[in-house]
């Protein structure tokens, strides 16, 4: 039995779908952030897999994943700073209550 490219892409696709579901349904801002990380992770995995199977002589997919991880770290840190601030201002982090910027 061969582990072809599809074997890796299918779990990534499922992970991505989970992320979408979580992002749309969860109320807690941190849970939403977790879903976001799932989606990002799925994308990272795709980069690496395509790199390995299609262009094994090069390393662009890996480098981009590397950068994506760095940026994800930055983004998460900032998002968590914002979340803490919101918590301080409003007393909770339920996304349905944060609608002050509405029309």
């Amino acid at each position: 039995m061969d582990l072809s490219i599809l074997w890796y892409l299918v779990p990534a696709a499922l992970m991505f779908a989970c992320g979408v579901y979580g992002f749309i349904t969860r109320k807690n801002l941190i849970a939403i952030l977790i879903s976001l990380e799932l989606m990002l992770n799925a994308a990272d995995l795709n980069f690496v897999v395509f790199n390995r199977y299609l262009f094994p002589g090069q390393m662009e997919g890996m480098v981009f994943t590397l950068f994506a991880i760095a940026i994800a770290a930055a983004e998460t840190a900032l998002a968590i700073a914002i979340i803490i601030n919101i918590y301080r201002a409003m007393g909770n982090i339920d996304i349905r209550e944060i609608t002050k910027m509405k029309f």
Binding site: L3, L6, Y21
Partner: protein
């Protein structure tokens, strides 16, 4: 034909990944969700190792599973009350979410299985096809300025991280 060890590792990791993905987004307790996310991240790291990217796997474990998870746990502790299970998801929204997720997954699945994807190569062939990526190569790729070398994005990321540090301090600071 790939080695049995690889196949076993693959199945274990894939199952862990999918199951804990689902659990991370469905668990009502936020700290548990974060833990499940941790498992997913570790599983991804294992895939990286398996695909022959040791450095990337190490970064995944150190930055994601190590650094970011600490941040998550930290903020969860800061922003949630004890025994906070969260409210029940409303059904309407759940239907919407599931249909979106399923639509996306179905689309991706169809694309994967009907498009002419390059399926003829096994993991072993792929691994032997490429040269081994050692730290030396990676360092040159990150610090060089020629084609397929990435000094500029590397520096841009460093500036981004600096901005992020300052931004994080400014945003979260007590007034």
């Amino acid at each position: 034909m790939d080695s049995v060890g690889n196949i076993i590792v693959y199945f274990v990791v894939a199952i862990v990944m999918v199951v804990f993905s689902v659990m991370a987004v469905t668990s009502r307790r936020i700290l548990r969700a974060a833990t499940y996310l941790l498992f997913v991240l570790i599983a991804t790291g294992v895939f990286y190792f398996q695909l022959g990217y040791q450095f990337l796997g190490a970064v995944q474990l150190a930055v994601y599973a190590g650094g970011i998870m600490v941040l998550f746990v930290f903020s969860i502790v800061l922003t949630s009350k004890p025994n906070d299970k969260g409210t029940v998801l409303d059904a309407h929204r759940r239907v919407l979410g599931i249909s979106a997720a399923v639509a996306g997954a179905v689309l991706l699945g169809f694309a994967l299985f009907t498009m002419p994807v390059y399926t003829g190569v096994s993991l072993g062939q792929a691994l032997t096809g490429g040269a081994d990526i050692d730290m030396h190569t990676i360092g040159h790729a990150l610090m060089g300025t020629e084609k397929f070398q990435y000094l500029l994005p590397f520096e841009a990321v460093s500036v981004l991280l600096l901005a992020c540090i300052i931004g994080g301090v400014v945003v979260a600071r007590k007034r």
